[in-house]
């Protein structure tokens, strides 16, 4: 009997690109919503229908001809609104679907096979979170798009999250270094969906891993996409000064702020102390003296 599993090779397709013009033109505040409703969106098309060579068309225009699977095309800058992705092999349409481009945002449009019994190609859209991450970190998004049952996504051998179904992702922010990732069915004793692959996360990137393909056809593979993120501020605060009123300090305090609530509170405290000083002898006098010093 033939061995049922062959050694899987990891093919990594890396599309490295700083987020295009939109993000680079102006020093927009990090993570701020880009306001212009007509601003183009940034679109990457991922060909994850394994073993199928296809012309990739957007709105009927070929953006990649005779593209092999695992190919990433982009970024395309498309006007916001509805568009159509078509993968065709000769005259045959492999899959076609409408997708919506959000103004000023970035998306991946991924063609892959469904995990149902039809195993038919379909299209899933993922939003790319291009907000900055902390210094020395990377955003890592693992998506289950394989023809496989609900699975655990494991990083360095430990399940990060269980029971992830086809079409779902795990978004993580991790220190930039090399990790081992695998995808294993949550239930059952079969082999992994995606055998362990090593992936290096570089600081300041959004790195995506799409697990695509069909274990039955031994075509599961990881398509990896790397997009650079705008840089955050690497500075670490040396001092955190969080109070200049003194109201929270032990002991009674008079405030000089303009707020009516604090004023009336201060007045109340002051009159209490004043009465205390009148009636109470030495202790009250001492307190009142302290209050005067602070004012």
């Amino acid at each position: 009997m033939r061995r049922t599993r062959t050694r899987r090779s990891l093919t990594v397709v890396i599309a490295t690109a700083a987020f295009s013009g939109v993000a680079l033109l102006g020093p927009a505040p990090a993570g701020a919503a880009r306001g212009d409703p007509g601003e183009p969106g940034e679109v990457y098309v991922v060909h994850g229908v394994m073993g199928t060579r296809a012309d990739i068309q957007v709105d009927g225009r070929t953006v990649a001809a005779a593209a092999g699977s695992r190919r990433i095309v982009g970024p395309l800058e498309l006007p916001p609104g509805e568009h159509v992705l078509t993968l065709r092999n000769g005259t045959e349409t492999v899959t076609a679907a409408r997708f919506t481009v959000p103004a000023g945002d970035s998306i991946d449009v991924v063609a892959h096979r469904r995990s149902d019994s039809t195993r038919a190609p379909a299209v899933t859209v993922f939003a790319n979170d291009r907000s900055p991450v902390g210094d020395g970190k990377a955003r890592f998004v693992v998506s289950h798009l394989a023809v496989a049952p609900p699975s655990d996504i494991r990083v360095n051998g430990k399940p990060v999250f269980r029971n992830v179904v086809n079409g779902e992702s795990l978004s993580l922010v991790l220190p930039a270094r090399t990790y081992t990732v695998d995808v294993t069915p949550t239930v059952g004793t079969g082999g992994p969906v995606l055998a362990p692959v090593r992936i290096r996360l570089r600081a300041g990137t959004l790195t995506r891993l799409f697990a695509v393909g069909d274990p039955a056809a031994r075509s599961v593979d990881a398509v990896v996409q790397e997009l650079s993120l705008p840089r955050g501020d690497p500075a670490v605060p040396e001092r955190i000064s969080t109070g200049d009123g003194g109201q929270a300090a032990p002991g009674p305090v008079l405030t000089v702020g303009p707020g009516p609530a604090t004023m009336s509170l201060s007045l109340a405290v002051a009159s209490l102390l004043f009465m205390g000083a009148l009636v109470g002898g030495r202790r009250g006098t001492a307190l009142a003296a302290r209050v005067r010093d602070r004012t």
């Binding site: 680079l24 953006v63 509805e82 605060p237 109070g243």
Partner: protein, 300 residues
């Protein structure tokens, strides 16, 4: 450009880089491209592009340096230099009409062939990829809820250049999130939320209540439609001048934690500041996210 309008671009592809405005394409009869013509266009265009390119045409890190908006306005062309095929424009759309034509099936041979003239609604809607159900994706904190139900708005703050101090919202009822630190729900590092314990102008702040927190109590950080609960593990005073030495407070290594920070200890009346920081450490409540990826502590 003389405004080519939505002329049917069904003539034989010119195989040139230039758009239709550069020369009459001949508004011939509308008919689909034979695949061979399409392929020809691809190859020819690729050749033309290839010769016009200095250096490699594969995408790579250097692509970032030459990134620009697709200056010729063709939205169907990859922005960074890509492999030749991504640069082809077999239908040669013009910049001004591309968006319209994208919606107009009548002038789109490929789509017309595909859907027999029907509108784009004849295609199924692509599925939207979701975060795994129950998993909390790292998010920027937008609110903090203390065990007694007190809620404060949280907004991102940075480090002041002048004195390397954290910018704290002036209003002590607003809490600052150090945007250089961890987001809520990361796998490691401190989420740092800091706010004024009090202010000469506004009086006591929301975080003056931190002094009453006890280990075991639960605080909730919300934001971007998600919630993450953290259980208080310690409450302590740290000298402000020694804050950096306490690696668990601002450090971004090690297990994920929430750090709530305000002022405490003796108040210096002349300098109008406190000697200490009150530091509350809290760990993610199991099952609410804060995924542990088994990342190792750094060797250093």
């Amino acid at each position: 450009m003389s405004g080519p309008g939505p002329a049917p671009a069904a003539g034989p592809p010119s195989g040139r880089v230039a758009g239709p405005a550069d020369g009459p394409e001949g508004p011939g009869p509308r008919r689909p491209f034979p695949p061979s013509a399409l392929l020809g266009a691809v190859l020819v265009t690729a050749l033309v592009w290839g010769t016009g390119q200095a250096g490699p045409v594969f995408p790579g890190r250097r692509a970032a340096a030459v990134l620009q908006r697709s200056g010729d306005g063709d939205p169907y062309r990859s922005v960074p230099p890509g492999r030749s095929a991504t640069r082809t424009r077999p239908l040669a759309p013009s910049p001004d009409t591309a968006p319209d034509r994208a919606r107009d099936t009548a002038v789109d041979p490929a789509r017309g062939r595909d859907a027999a003239g029907a509108g784009p609604t004849s295609f199924p809607q692509a599925r939207t990829g979701q975060e795994a159900q129950g998993h909390v994706a790292p998010f920027r904190p937008g609110s903090l809820t203390l065990p007694d139900g007190t809620r404060a708005t949280v907004r991102p703050v940075g480090v002041r250049m002048a004195d390397a101090s954290l910018e704290i919202p002036e209003d002590p009822h607003v809490v600052g999130w150090w945007s250089g630190g961890a987001m809520a729900g990361e796998s490691s590092g401190s989420v740092v939320l800091a706010g004024h314990v009090d202010s000469r102008r506004y009086g006591l702040g929301t975080l003056s209540r931190l002094n009453g927190l006890r280990p075991g109590q639960v605080v909730t950080v919300g934001g971007e439609g998600q919630d993450l609960r953290y259980r208080v593990s310690s409450v302590r005073l740290v000298r402000q001048s020694e804050l950096l030495g306490h690696h668990d407070v601002l450090g971004q290594d090690g297990a994920h934690r929430l750090v709530l920070l305000t002022c405490g200890g003796p108040f210096d009346r002349s300098l109008h500041r406190y000697r200490d920081n009150l530091v509350v450490l809290a760990r993610p409540v199991a099952g609410t996210g804060g995924t542990d990826t088994g990342t190792r502590e750094p060797a250093s």
